[in-house]
Symmetry: none
Subunit: 225 residues, 2 copies
């Protein structure tokens, strides 16, 4: 387990670090929000502890930035008792739990473990291809930063293709998985949906997210070239 602690008070910071190091955790420490953002982005951490009252930019801003970058690591925020109202703001920004200072380290550990355990379920699984991101829980597709308005069937087609990235999917397979019962074979519905999809997810025609393999089917390449 690797955790990141973002906290400006040095004494508290070191105490936390010691405590968790003793328990066998790998601990990264950042004293500023800026450093924290960098570390959370670059290192494969399992959870983060963030103090809301940071000197450079607030912990809340840090959380917002992380969530914006789609980094879904569980975050626990620390707040001073006198400013416990901030916790609401923090939770709104995307934190998963909070603790009021001062606290017992055992409690911090317990909460963090709970979060880490839970985090597998929390993070929305996202399928990516270049600029295109498909969130299977929210059932929405982002192209860069903007939401795409896909219809139900457009979405189903894209989801199936992206779930089987790199594989060639025949039109027969596609129809089978998209419609409940078997379906009139001599229809060109699939082609139509593919067409509409391409227009929406790749308006410039540069990314080529869906390849055509004549006589065989369609494929989403593993990586955009």
């Amino acid at each position: 387990m690797r955790i990141l602690v973002v906290e400006d008070e040095n004494i508290l910071c070191q105490q936390i670090q010691h405590f968790f190091a003793d328990k066998g955790y790998a601990v990264d420490v950042a004293n500023t929000g800026k450093d924290g953002l960098f570390m959370a982005t670059e290192y494969p951490i399992d959870a983060a502890v963030v103090d809301i009252g940071l000197p450079d930019f607030s912990g809340i801003e840090l959380i917002r930035q992380l969530r914006k970058k789609d980094i879904k690591v569980p975050i626990l925020i620390l707040t001073a008792r006198s400013r416990w109202q901030e916790k609401v703001e923090g939770l709104e920004a995307g934190a998963d739990d909070y603790l009021v200072k001062p606290f017992h380290y055992e409690e911090l550990q317990a909460r963090l473990n709970a979060l880490i355990r839970r985090s597998a379920g929390l993070a929305h699984p996202v399928l990516k291809f270049g600029q295109i991101e498909l969130d299977t829980v929210a059932q929405e597709v982002l192209l860069g930063n903007e939401k795409l308005e896909l219809t139900a069937y457009e979405y189903k087609v894209l989801e199936y293709l992206m779930l089987h990235k790199g594989e060639v999917i025949s039109k027969a397979v596609l129809t089978d998985h998209i419609y409940d019962e078997d379906f009139e074979r001599d229809s060109n519905v699939i082609e139509v949906f593919i067409g509409r999809l391409r227009k929406k997810i790749d308006p410039d025609g540069t990314l080529k997210p869906i390849e055509t393999l004549r006589g065989r089917g369609y494929r989403v390449p593993i990586n955009p070239e």
Copy 2:
């Protein structure tokens, strides 16, 4: 769940103990403030019920001592109707809620559960979307500053959607979670409730707190646009 009851009247004490034991709680009992302080300090309790009128030192003193030791269990105080003024003192000392004797056990249970949920911090007590705030404990909804009068079912629908913010909730799932038994599938109740809700929580039609995804369901977006 493990709760501590600090109460000197033996009859009442046993009744409470029985009631919660039946409901599957572990119950510790103390007849004096001193015992209560010891138990609250040493045992891993999830909540405490404290009678203000204790013989040795007042319940208020008990709460003060606990808070001084940084023990943060949620505490609910009981006061006699004739001395309801004491509740203020108790809340100032660090209690989280109060109940006036005599009371219904169901109410006590509901309040305690609310406190426990809130103290866990995991279930956010207030769900927000723009101007809309839904308090899951008080079970009320604010639009800006004014309370909205939602009916029971309207509230249930909104709560479920907001608890699953960002997710697409199909009408089938919604019915399953709102009605106990399975329900006539070919009814349009859900649509009707959604309509009524929208009219109440977004009278101008500007916020768009509930999106429709044709053929898939409804969704409360993570953030208002």
